[in-house]
């Protein structure tokens, strides 16, 4: 984010948030002029922000047409899960093999934080889940892996927000992290990999079921 002007950064964050939280609906036409007025940021900033969002896959440009909020589909969900499940599993395996003492301390701190969060606080649980995956990605010591997973996490977010009101298993899913952490701490790569694969897959399965009903 270093080459980016500060107001572009602001526009990017605000637009990204609107898209992820579905305030800008999937498939909606993007009117730069209007957004610039709404956000009260310069047209340049908004335009630059949209470029970044397009790079993230959250905005689409059709060849001869305008800019749209990328639509969501079950197909996307399936493809994301197909990628994330093996990569997160690989990540957990590598983390079990490579995590440094510092990284284990981070995982322990996250676990500690988990104890302080109410099961009903889905916002914080959601955030914690993200941190947990990031921490494991860091412990895997492969920057490409970490970047890739971060990108996919971003793309998944919107689907999750779509499903969120009906997700029942969030606390349970986050609970899984505790087992995984134990495996990583113990250096049990096989177990870490297996747990992670199940964790990611079962979460996607649930989201998929909810969205299948919603999106028809």
């Amino acid at each position: 984010m270093e080459l980016i002007r500060i107001d572009t950064q602001k526009a990017y964050e605000q637009l990204r948030d609107r898209i992820v939280r579905l305030q800008l609906a999937p498939g909606a036409l993007i009117d730069e002029q209007q957004l610039s007025a709404e956000l009260d940021l310069s047209p340049t900033a908004v335009r630059e922000a949209i470029k970044l969002l397009a790079h993230d896959g959250l905005v689409q440009v059709t060849p001869r047409h305008g800019l749209y909020v990328a639509p969501v589909s079950l197909e996307d969900l399936a493809q994301l899960s197909e990628m994330r499940a093996p990569l997160e599993a690989l990540c957990a395996r590598l983390a079990a093999q490579r995590a440094t003492a510092d990284e284990l301390a981070v995982l322990a701190a996250l676990r500690q934080e988990h104890h302080g969060i109410a099961a009903s606080d889905s916002g914080r649980l959601f955030e914690l889940d993200h941190r947990f995956h990031q921490a494991i990605a860091g412990a895997a010591h492969n920057k490409y892996l970490a970047q890739t997973l971060e990108t996919f996490f971003g793309l998944s977010q919107r689907l999750w927000y779509l499903a969120l009101p009906e997700i029942a298993s969030l606390p349970a899913a986050v609970e899984k992290h505790l087992d995984m952490m134990a495996a990583i701490q113990a250096g049990d790569a096989d177990r870490a990999e297996r747990l992670m694969r199940t964790h990611v897959q079962s979460f996607y399965d649930e989201v998929k079921e909810i969205l299948a009903k919603k999106l028809g």
Binding site: L29, D31, Q33, T44, V61, P63, H65, G66
Partner: protein, 667 residues
């Protein structure tokens, strides 16, 4: 405490790259006042050189005040006319080869590399035959190195582009060539025009892309950082991105801009605009303040396309048209464009000496070929492979222009066709010079920036060959120019094709035309009365058009800045985006009942049970899409109109159009 600054209003820079001249002008967008204008020679080998020169000539003191640059160009039209487009492989899917060939429609494809494959759809969008993808891929593999781009047109692809899309996917997996798909350029159903348009578009892609980069580069040199627009063939503007994707839409861009510029400068809403350039003269009609557009699809160099463009006629006649002596010892004017001898002699004084020397040889009645010169325009790149003959010729021309007879002698051949140098002319390594109307103007003292002596000498030489006085030669040439233009005007405005100007034609049409021009009949006079004025555009407009207007009994209007009206027109247009969506029925298995309606866009297909729903969806989709595209193209508050046109039984074309003036803020 405040000292206000003198206000700098938003300025726009209009540029037109014509066949001979590149014009530029600076306009105050709000007051519509032309602040500065300039003309440079077009440098075909690299248009950006001429563009830089013309921008330099404008003396822009505050590049930041320029909020838009817009450019019209005959680049696409010229590339097609001169066969300088990239080499295209055209993949025809589901076309009936036999039918095409038997009606010689293949001659309309605008490329010699066309190939037929199984596949395509029928007029209900159902697959006619399975796609022969393996065959296509094998052909593409075999074409490696032989073509620079690919065009794909599948039968009824606007109804169902599936085969084109599959070919795109597969072919782009095995090679890097740009690929143009027919259905993306036209939703109309004429399969031949679609193929032609796709092929032409493919042949122009790289050319227009280079052009846009060159203009951007010229802008960068002058510190101009503003949106760049390109004029479409109908005079509207598109962003440079769009233009680079759909170069065919720039066909007729130059003439359309002239027409718009002429209207703008004259303030006249109904007129015939005649733009006299160095290479061509272009005709367009203005009605109710709008350029007439042809719905049928523009024709360029005999290729009929599916491109909506200004309805115009371009004839190969201009200030630099070659005046040559045919085998029948008749003078002809055009269609080739050459460098005027007055200019060549001005650049190379030995040419002037040689011509005056020749003119003094009163006994020599055969020296007309000596008026044709070849010369080196710019040195070929060192890396370029040259034949021994080409090397020999280039060495011979190294110290200056040589006349064609001298060249033939040096090369030891009898006819220029024996020297294989077309490619060198194409690449503007070599150029030709000869006698032109521009030389006549020099001889007449009406326009004399270059060598008058050379022009006079050349006329003397040519006159001697014809046993005529130079004045008579001039008269003949001007008469011919006049006749050619009047002929074009009459044909264009009437919409009736005139009989060709063949000698000894005895048709009534020919007679009427001749008589209306020359009033030869002692008893029966005929006259043309054009009911609208002629707006003359271009530097030589007055010379060429005064007699035309007289013959047509109308007024010739030469608005201020008419020399650069095309550049004015480049910025006077609105940004426009159009979109068409097809709605057509899905038939039952037996093909008897309509069971649903498809809504087909470039990118996908939706299905609706009821026609009304399908049309409503198509309408709103088309509206949204043009709006999005217009916003992205920089239109300010674009206005959208949608119309539904019947397109055969139970089928509809839903067309949307968004138009708006350019948004002149920094993007």
């Amino acid at each position: 405490m405040t000292t206000p600054l003198s206000p700098t209003p938003p300025l726009v820079l209009g540029i037109d790259t014509g066949g001979t001249f590149t014009d530029a002008m600076l306009l105050n967008y709000h007051t519509r006042e032309v602040l500065a204008a300039h003309k440079s020679l077009t440098t075909k080998r690299d248009l950006s050189i001429g563009i830089e020169e013309v921008i330099d000539g404008i003396q822009i003191t505050d590049p930041a005040a320029i909020k838009m640059v817009s450019i019209s160009t005959t680049l696409a039209t010229n590339a097609i006319a001169e066969g300088k487009g990239k080499r295209v492989g055209l993949l025809l899917i589901g076309y009936d080869a036999e039918l095409v060939e038997s009606f010689k429609m293949n001659e309309r494809f605008a490329t010699p590399h066309y190939y037929y494959f199984e596949g395509g759809h029928d007029l209900y969008g159902q697959e006619k035959a399975p796609l022969d993808l393996a065959g296509i891929l094998a052909t593409v593999n075999s074409l490696r190195g032989q073509v620079d781009a690919l065009a794909v047109s599948s039968y009824f692809s606007p109804l169902n582009p599936e085969h084109e899309l599959r070919v795109f996917e597969a072919v782009s997996s095995i090679c890097d060539l740009p690929i143009v798909l027919g259905h993306q350029l036209s939703t109309k159903l004429g399969s031949i025009e679609r193929a032609t348009t796709a092929a032409l578009n493919a042949s122009l892609l790289a050319i227009l892309q280079d052009f846009v980069v060159a203009v951007r580069r010229a802008m960068a040199h002058r510190h101009i950082d503003a949106p760049l627009m390109v004029v479409r063939g109908d005079g509207t503007l598109m962003s440079d991105e769009f233009a680079a994707q759909t170069p065919v839409e720039t066909i007729h861009s130059g003439p359309a801009a002239s027409a718009i510029g002429g209207r703008f400068l004259s303030g006249i809403d109904d007129a015939l605009v005649l733009d006299v350039g160095g290479t061509t003269t272009d005709l367009a009609l203005i009605q109710d303040g709008q350029v007439n557009v042809t719905e049928a699809g523009a024709t360029v160099s005999g290729y009929k396309t599916a491109v909506k463009a200004a309805d115009l006629l371009s004839i190969a006649l201009g200030g630099d048209s070659a005046i040559t002596l045919g085998r029948d010892r008749r003078l002809s004017l055009g269609p080739e464009r050459v460098t005027p001898l007055a200019y060549l002699a001005h650049q190379y004084p030995p040419v002037e000496q040689r011509l005056t020397q020749l003119a003094s040889r009163t006994w020599d009645h055969e020296s007309a070929p000596h008026l044709q010169y070849w010369y080196i325009l710019h040195q070929p790149q060192a890396s370029r492979p040259l034949s021994p003959q080409q090397k020999n010729l280039l060495r011979f021309l190294a110290d200056g222009p040589k006349s064609v007879p001298d060249i033939l002698k040096h090369m030891g051949v009898l006819h220029p066709a024996q020297i294989v140098v077309n490619e060198l002319f194409r690449q503007e390594i070599l150029a030709k010079a000869g006698l032109t109307p521009t030389d006549l103007l020099h001889a007449e003292g009406r326009f004399t920036p270059w060598s008058t002596a050379a022009a006079e000498a050349a006329l003397t030489i040519l006159g001697r060959c014809l046993w005529q006085e130079p004045a008579k030669i001039r008269e003949v040439v001007w008469r011919q120019a006049n006749e050619t233009i009047v002929r074009a005007v009459v044909a264009f405005v009437s919409g009736i094709s005139l009989p060709p100007p063949v000698i000894k034609d005895k048709s009534f049409g020919t007679w009427v035309f001749d008589n209306s021009l020359y009033h030869r009949h002692p008893h029966l006079d005929t006259q043309f009365h054009l009911q609208i004025p002629i707006i003359g555009i271009g530097a030589p407009a007055e010379v060429f058009l005064a007699e035309v207007a007289r013959v047509l009994h109308t007024e010739l209007i030469l608005p201020e800045h008419h020399e650069v009206a095309n550049a004015v027109g480049a910025v006077a247009g609105s940004i426009m985006v159009t979109e068409e969506i097809l709605v057509y029925p899905q038939l039952s298995a037996e093909g008897l009942d309509v069971i649903a309606y498809y809504v087909q866009t470039n990118e996908g297909r939706e299905i609706y049970e009821v026609a009304g729903d399908a049309l409503n969806y198509a309408r709103s989709l088309a509206e949204e899409r043009v709006l999005g595209a217009a916003l992205r193209s920089g239109a300010d508050n674009p206005q959208v109109t949608v119309e539904v046109l019947p397109n055969g039984l139970d089928s509809y074309r839903v067309g949307a159009k968004a138009m708006g003036n350019p948004r002149l803020e920094k993007r």
